[in-house]
Symmetry: C2
Subunit: 457 residues, 2 copies
């Protein structure tokens, strides 16, 4: 639940509401508005709240009176929670909030997800039986729990590969869960991964495309001639579709959660890399995370260009959840880590943030300190907006000039994240070797409250 | 000019665009959009940019092709600059930006401001001649240059009092400029100031109202029976209206800038308070600013509840400009100081920020360091959102409970602004007495680049 005061308060959260909206995160968004009488006047905070909210609202209402408020709130909650999940924004004028006559409403029934067409299930099963190289591209609840378990059984039985879009919301991993490979951000790498497949079955996902168009480059990394088939589209229950598909393939009912899936097929195992040593490197940092990630951790990943190898190094460690930036609006890591830690106080949260992204919302460090949240924040300080630099090079307009380069770089002066953290009450350290990084991670995972580790790249 | 990448980039600036929109600040807002072809696909950063921009756009267009782009940009600039000033948002799809055929357009003529009705001028002159206690409530260009000079001549000749709304955008002050009193934020104080007036003449301003409505309290601090008359309304040239009013009153053509106004009437003088000594206090801090403010400084004031007495203590010092938060969306001080320092590199900028407000946008400190801007930032660390606490008490629902109080407070842990500044490359100091504050201010005003002073209240 996000609570904002007035239009500007809503505006302050809007960039991450974009991410939540893309991720189909269920959010009830309550926005205060002036008392209706006061809206006749041209006061400073008057604004078109419905206008500001509309681009990121799946449901939008201004509550009309105190009696209706309870019913409106219940409807907002039910709408937000119905699959695939969405943002319900309820605007509450001050006089509606302070007025008499409020009634606690019954929670309405959740809108049921659309059932997947039986013919689509039959067709997908036929594709999988054909033994043509096939991938399943998973999204939403196909990446967790019983949905992922069913996908794992299908993959084990048919040889199909499980993939996730680069911008997925949440994935259950480790502890024997089926391994799902993320399609890389970089177009050439995505095309390289996808070139072997002649069939792609979409389970809640869209056809993969590059984030940005380019004047000359392709934007679809799927191989030419690959048949793309939609098993389940947004608004359907992807997990049910996968379970139906497994049944259609004659696979016995298996695990009721993702981590039983490979156990069923006898291949359950945890492989944890050894702790790395030596100088800081992107590869070494990834291995270090894999070496010491605690069981049941929640990893929030906005490591951007510094995150190469992280998902590979953690694919077979203990059970954990991986949260990514679904909407591409950078600055999600620290606030999302706050949300994860508040929701799951018994779990450890590892927040992996690029320095450029972290600068958008570093105020969340103070919230971590205030609430005593068990979050270990890693800031990858490469002092550059690497994605911008790469996208520029993709435009085919030559090398960036001095001014363009200056806009991509974050140095001059270099950010001192240890000082920034200290300023907000979070103890911080700078790791200057992989040994120091491992030690700091372990301290973070066992200590109480938040900590921050800066690694310079 | 604000340049944003995609919808979320625009969203990141939206809360301060609210302030700029309320202030009628001329802004050309260029927002990048995906190439049109790419918009057919459901990619992560796809968003309804026009929807996000609309609530704060006085002019809004998505450029349709490369040939039209130059003309669109010229029209955006002319629209933004026409009185009273506004926000022109131009959305540029990537293919329009990289396409061929661009043409540099002629700048179109600025739309002329509506002339003030001659009968309104006659009526206002009659009101002023009546010698009934009268105030002129000034806004926009009535608070600077020839507009303020004319207002000063009128006030000197008729005894009318010059007032500004609490949320004004910019005011020329000091160096003999006419003294304009700001209507206080606190309703009871505003009503106290206004109770003597039987006539109020609005020059671009609206009838004063409280920021927020309350269930029981009044929202208009104007005395009952006070006649309110609009000389010039938004879209007119307030300065011209005041010059016409001065002429109607038979006042000779005087100074061509505000600071000549009192010189004309023989009362030009600068009165600078002596440097205060002793323990930190709100009153002492205000006097210290008055004692050492350099000539031609730009003061950005978001001191909120810690700013009592600041404008009084600086009313008759050397010439300076005062910029306030017109829209009530807190977090304007540091970014606005960046803008002022970039626009006027030869002037010193004093940025007065409450700690709660400063937390919204403290990233601007890094920009100050990077650009070597001569900004002296004062952070008033009272560790509370004092306005929220006050507005709560105005609701008449008793004392706040523990949870409500916790939402108003900024302590636990206390913010260390000196560490935060150091983290972004800005040297900082904590002033523990008025002597230390004066020394730190002087060092800030004479040194190169930014500095920060934390004062604990």
């Amino acid at each position: 639940m996000y609570v904002a005061a007035s239009g500007p308060g809503l505006a302050n959260g809007l960039a991450n509401l974009h991410n939540a909206w893309r991720a189909h995160t269920p959010i009830v968004n309550i926005v205060g508005q002036h008392a209706r009488e006061h809206l006749h006047f041209d006061t400073p905070l008057k604004s078109d709240i419905e206008g500001i909210a509309r681009p990121y609202a799946d449901w939008l209402r201004t509550s009309s009176d105190s009696v209706a408020l309870g019913r409106d709130a219940a409807e907002a909650m039910a709408t937000a929670r119905a699959l695939p999940g969405g943002i319900a924004t309820l605007i509450v004028p001050a006089d509606v909030a302070w007025g008499d006559g409020g009634v606690v409403a019954e929670a309405p029934e959740l809108r049921a997800a659309r059932a997947t067409d039986g013919r689509a299930v039959t067709r997908a099963a036929a594709m999988l039986r054909s033994r043509v190289p096939t991938c399943l591209l998973l999204s939403g609840n196909a990446l967790v729990g019983i949905g992922l378990a069913a996908a794992g059984r299908i993959a084990a039985a048919t040889g199909a590969k499980l993939l996730a879009p680069y911008p997925f919301a949440r994935m259950e991993r480790g502890g024997g869960a089926p391994v799902v490979e993320r399609i890389p951000y970089i177009f050439e790498q995505a095309a390289g991964l996808l070139k072997e497949f002649r069939q792609m079955i979409l389970v809640g996902a869209e056809v993969p495309r590059s984030y940005f168009a380019h004047p000359v480059k392709e934007s679809v990394p799927v191989a030419a001639g690959c048949e793309v088939f939609t098993l389940a589209s947004p608004g359907e229950d992807y997990a049910s579709a996968l379970i139906a598909l497994a049944a259609e393939l004659g696979l016995r009912e298996g695990a009721t959660d993702s981590r039983g899936a490979l156990a069923d097929s006898g291949s359950r195992r945890v492989e944890r890399p050894g702790t790395p040593r030596g100088a800081i490197s992107i590869a070494g940092l990834a291995v270090a995370v894999g070496a010491v990630l605690p069981d049941d951790a929640i990893v929030v990943d906005e490591s951007m260009t510094s995150g190469r190898g992280l998902m590979e190094a953690t694919a077979r460690v203990g059970p954990h959840d991986w949260l990514a930036n679904t909407g591409g609006s950078i600055g999600i890591a620290m606030p999302l880590a706050v949300g994860a830690a508040v929701a799951c106080p018994e779990r450890r949260v590892l927040c992996l943030s690029a320095d450029g992204s972290g600068m958008y919302t570093m105020q969340a460090l103070w919230t971590m300190a205030r609430e005593g949240l068990n979050v270990t924040v890693v800031v990858y300080a490469n002092r550059v907006y690497g994605v911008l630099k790469r996208e520029f090079s993709g435009l085919g307009i030559g090398e960036p000039g001095e001014k363009a380069l200056s806009m991509f770089e974050i140095g001059r002066p270099d950010l001192d994240w240890v000082s920034l953290a200290r300023g907000m009450g979070v103890p911080g350290t700078r790791a200057e070797s992989l040994e120091e990084f491992v030690t700091a991670l372990r301290a973070g995972f066992t200590g109480a409250g938040p900590s921050l580790i800066q690694v310079d790249l």
